[in-house]
């Protein structure tokens, strides 16, 4: 059986890994290449690199770092941040990415997902969505979670999959950085409406939060987190041993 994936996420700016708490107040963590290599050796099943650079110079540095990483780390790499055109897909795929995650770019350009899926295949296109509760609906937020787009999230995600996204990363802004567990209610709503892999993001604070995630929602395929891995609060090898003990299908390294 295909195992549940554990995915550390590296936010990269100016060639360094940073992690925001509720997307604000960035702290420097480490070199992306060294951290990616470390995670791969600890048993990470995949890595997500987010480019949070605004400048073209920063983008060039990011692309170089991606290449350096892909020369050393042989697990799947998903790249996101600043992906607005098919040309951006081309740039990161040629630099070693296996999947490309689109977020605001898909909001600005509705043709981005279908065009990229046609050229590179659905399995290559990941739709990443930042979602927050507004009133009694789930709402899509843009610009790193700062701007309410007014778009209802479930229909946006369903539409994204129908137009070619092969995987969903669901970031709950409501639980992000709070470390009280994943947003099970929001995740369940999404797994009910799509049949592509769903990656849970936002809210993991402990090993128990991952166990609860996979035990409660067997349709969730992967758990993503950043700071709890970067700061060593959760060790991936310990997490995976606990998952195995809990009877969750997991890949264990020797």
């Amino acid at each position: 059986m295909i195992t549940k994936r554990i995915i550390p996420c590296l936010d990269v700016r100016d060639g360094r890994v940073v992690k925001g708490i509720n997307f604000e107040g960035l702290r420097d963590v480490d070199s992306p290449v060294a951290l990616a290599d470390y995670y791969s050796r600890c048993g990470a099943d995949e890595l997500v690199f987010y480019d949070i650079t605004a400048s073209s110079d920063g983008r060039r540095i990011f692309t170089e770092i991606l290449k350096e990483t892909a020369k050393k780390v042989f697990i799947p790499l998903t790249v996101g941040g600043g992906i607005s055109t098919v040309g951006d897909f081309d740039r990161v795929l040629k630099s070693g990415a296996d999947k490309v995650s689109v977020n605001s770019g898909a909001i600005r350009n509705p043709k981005l997902i279908p065009e990229a899926a046609r050229i590179y295949g659905n399995q290559c296109v990941v739709l990443s969505v930042d979602v927050k509760r507004v009133g009694n609906e789930f709402r899509v937020f843009a610009k790193g979670g700062r701007e309410d787009t007014g778009i209802e999230a479930l229909s946006w995600i369903k539409n994204g999959v129908e137009s070619g996204a092969g995987e969903i990363v669901l970031n709950s802004i409501d639980t992000d950085g709070v470390k009280q567990g994943f947003d099970l209610e929001m995740l369940e709503a999404v797994t009910e409406i799509v049949d592509v892999p769903v990656i849970a993001s936002g809210g993991a604070g402990s090993i128990a939060d991952f166990i609860t995630l996979f035990k409660t929602l067997p349709k969730v395929d992967a758990g993503l987190a950043a700071s709890i891995f970067h700061f060593g609060e959760v060790k991936i090898s310990d997490l995976k041993e606990e998952m195995k003990r809990a009877g969750i299908p997991v890949r264990i390294l020797d």
């Binding site: 059986m1 295909i2 195992t3 020369k71 697990i75 070693g96 296996d98 592509v196 890949r251």
Partner: protein, 202 residues
């Protein structure tokens, strides 16, 4: 030298990097003369079967690959590259492959329960059904990385490893000097690299 056959399908960055990390000379080549002079061949591939098979045929590389296989040169097909080794694929119609391994490629959707997601994407544990030099550094239950919606069937006599996904799915085949992996060794961590190393020692 290991030649990674470059026929315009997919991204060779990780494959080239894998060999380079192993310290094994390998390069992406499209020139038939270089393919003929290589010690062993890797046939990569992602995307649609029909398009890839057409590119191999039109570039004349199909014939070169068949000739080299007949001479006994080790060949490893990866992902779509493995599927191309078979006689036929039923991906959007019916298309002819290289026919180096008897069997055909069909949609998993019609074979596995609806509750399982297609494409099958992620890590799955290898179960060996036959001894093979390709897996000399790999253990039963070691995990490798898959992304696929189609898989090979009617090839039991050449199957060397399977994975479980609703049913037994063909994960790797070996027939004489011709090998195929449905998974991506270049994305399967140290387990994957050790499979590439074993192939390089054939």
């Amino acid at each position: 030298m290991t030649a990674i056959v470059d026929y315009g399908v997919g991204n060779l960055f990780s494959l080239i990097s894998s060999f380079s990390a192993l310290g094994i000379p390998a390069e992406a080549v499209c020139d038939p003369a270089m393919i003929r002079s290589a010690d062993r061949l890797i046939l990569p591939g992602v995307g649609a079967f029909e398009d890839a098979a057409k590119k191999l045929r039109e570039s004349g590389l199909s014939e070169v690959l068949k000739e080299e296989a007949a001479k006994g040169k080790p060949i490893l097909g990866i992902c779509l590259g493995m599927q191309l080794l078979f006689e036929k694929s039923f991906e959007y119609g019916e298309h002819e492959g290289l026919g180096l391994i008897p069997g055909k490629v069909t949609a998993m959707r019609n074979r596995v329960p609806d509750s399982l997601k297609i494409p099958a994407m992620g890590w799955n544990a290898l179960h060996f059904v036959k001894e093979s030099p390709l897996f000399r550094y790999v253990k039963e239950n070691d995990c490798v990385y898959f992304v696929h919606s189609y898989s090979a069937v009617d090839c039991a006599s050449d199957t060397i490893a399977v994975v479980e996904y609703g049913e037994e799915i063909t994960a790797a085949v070996g027939r004489g000097n011709v090998y195929g992996c449905q998974f991506h060794p270049e994305k399967s961590g140290t387990v994957g690299l050790s499979i590439l190393r074993a192939f390089s020692e054939l």
